[in-house]
Symmetry: C2
């Protein structure tokens, strides 16, 4: 079977908030204002930013994405984790049980989280129609080849299926910087493990 | 042919200095004091640190390695390069012609370099005896497999041969953090391109 070209999006550290945490951080009457649309339909970068803080260190200006979710989740890179002195697990988005705790500080208040901080699994968004088109039925993880002077193969890339999704791979800044991958670069899905 | 196990060392950003630059940075009578030996014979981490600076930003406490070389070279990661707002080329150590400029600041003075800042090519140190043992004659680059939740294959890993070398792979912190590789982890050399 031919390799499958896949567009790559690079996710910088970011925060998803539940509405009650947003109100604590930004105020009861604040609203989550869209700054720009993201590739996945309905998802957007907001104009809001928070500072994330641990006992060891802090990182300011971490972007809040929208819309609200029913849980608060902070996605960082391993490089960020070393700076902050924490050890977040590698997880699918939404799987935050017993993940790392962290403190969020906004202009109106702060939230101390016992869990919610993860390093996101490399993943590909695709639809059931893409699954059929590319013969990926029954596949949970793929490998993706990227070219270049620091090219390589990213393994254990999970497939996230929804008929609402736009076909795109998401990696964090560590994966991007290690392989010199820029936003919009093209990789190749080269293997499928059932 | 069987895969070849290779121990991995992670190189944080660091500086090699020519003696004249060291004297400007640390003083005419300063000496380059060993803090700890590195794996490669004769190489050591010194007790000296410099601040590296660009128009955009700076990074303090960058370790000076010894012994002196006949050129000054700064090795950083792509993550560092974004922070500093510069675009160093991917180069073998010592190949600094037309690489990025950067400013070094020490306790005694500063040096403005027109070139010298690179992102080091992933590489493996080995001896001619290792070359024979592992049947790597005529090979310049290999691929190395690393396991784990964010495992993968690092491509274009150059082979650096000297009978003084200890068999070890060196990667930067971006490669390490992207793949969750720790100092001393074992990879597998899986392919050889002539």
């Amino acid at each position: 079977m031919n390799d499958i070209d896949i567009k790559i999006g690079v996710s910088n550290r970011h925060v998803h908030l539940k509405e009650s945490d947003f109100k604590i951080l930004f105020g009861e009457n604040a609203c989550l204002e869209k700054s720009s649309d993201l590739t996945q339909p309905g998802e957007f970068a907001s104009t809001s930013k928070v500072l994330i803080k641990t006992l060891k260190d802090e990182i300011p200006n971490v972007r809040v994405l929208g819309p609200f979710r029913n849980y608060t989740q902070i996605e960082i890179s391993k490089t960020d984790a070393f700076k902050l002195g924490i050890n977040p697990p590698i997880r699918e988005s939404g799987d935050i049980l017993n993940s790392e705790g962290i403190k969020l500080i906004g202009p109106n208040g702060s939230v101390d989280l016992n869990e919610g901080c993860i390093i996101a699994t490399r993943h590909i968004h695709l639809t059931n129609s893409d699954i059929k088109k590319y013969n990926l039925e029954g596949i949970k993880y793929v490998d993706v080849l990227v070219d270049g002077l620091k090219g390589g193969i990213l393994k254990n890339v999970s497939l996230k299926v929804s008929d609402n999704y736009s076909f795109e791979m998401h990696i964090d800044t560590d994966d991007a910087n290690a392989h010199l991958i820029k936003q919009g670069d093209i990789g190749k899905i080269i293997r499928r493990d059932v």
